[in-house]
């Protein structure tokens, strides 16, 4: 495996895990459910997409052929993350989850 492919795989792995970590910190630290929904719905999906791109590059360069199986997971996650975020927000609105108020 050439050095540049290795650098690219390492770059995508680092960027992906950093985005996933940012999303999880957002899930842990935000004060309100509707704010907490932002981290996992966007940052974590992007991070996992980067990790899957890294996996695709790695296996394509290792086996001397194009391997794009990971696009299936990426496509499915990109389709399913907005749907699940929408369902969660709908359930939270219906359950009257408390929102964060800066004044009190």
């Amino acid at each position: 495996m050439s050095v540049w492919v290795e650098y690219t795989v390492a770059f995508f792995l680092l960027v992906g895990s950093a985005f996933a970590l940012v999303g999880s910190i957002g899930l842990h630290r935000f004060p309100d459910f509707f704010m907490r929904l932002h981290g996992p719905a966007k940052a974590t999906t992007l991070g996992v997409g980067c990790v899957l791109i890294a996996s695709m590059l790695f296996f394509s360069s290792k086996d001397q052929g194009l391997h794009v199986h990971e696009l299936l997971i990426t496509l499915f996650l990109m389709l399913s993350a907005p749907v699940s975020a929408y369902m969660l927000a709908k359930a939270a609105v219906q359950q009257h989850v408390k929102t964060f108020n800066r004044k009190d």
Binding site: F58, S80, S84
Partner: protein, 89 residues
């Protein structure tokens, strides 16, 4: 170099799994717990893919795909249960 980067990325995913687990334990409302579970399975899937790169084995791809499918399905079903109080009407 790639091995060190893979270990660093596994460490970061482990920290994010721990943070999600704290939210799963603490979450004031049931919706928070469902969101934490959703994030937990997505991060676990990514950790599995990174582990597959480390072992350079393509065996973990099917497991990651199955986790993605069943996790999305379980999130939708739990949300439906909260919304309607019933899953199959």
């Amino acid at each position: 170099m790639l091995t060190a980067v893979i270990y660093l990325s596994m460490l970061m995913f482990g920290i994010s799994l721990l943070l999600n687990f704290f939210r799963l334990l603490r979450g004031p409302h049931a919706v928070d717990r469902i969101l934490a579970l959703d994030t937990l399975y997505i991060n676990g899937l990514a950790l599995l893919v990174v582990f597959g790169i480390l072992l350079s084995s393509r065996l973990f791809f099917e497991a990651a795909l199955l986790i993605a499918l069943f996790g999305f399905f379980s999130t939708v079903v739990l949300c439906k249960y909260l919304l309607r109080g019933d899953i199959i009407e």
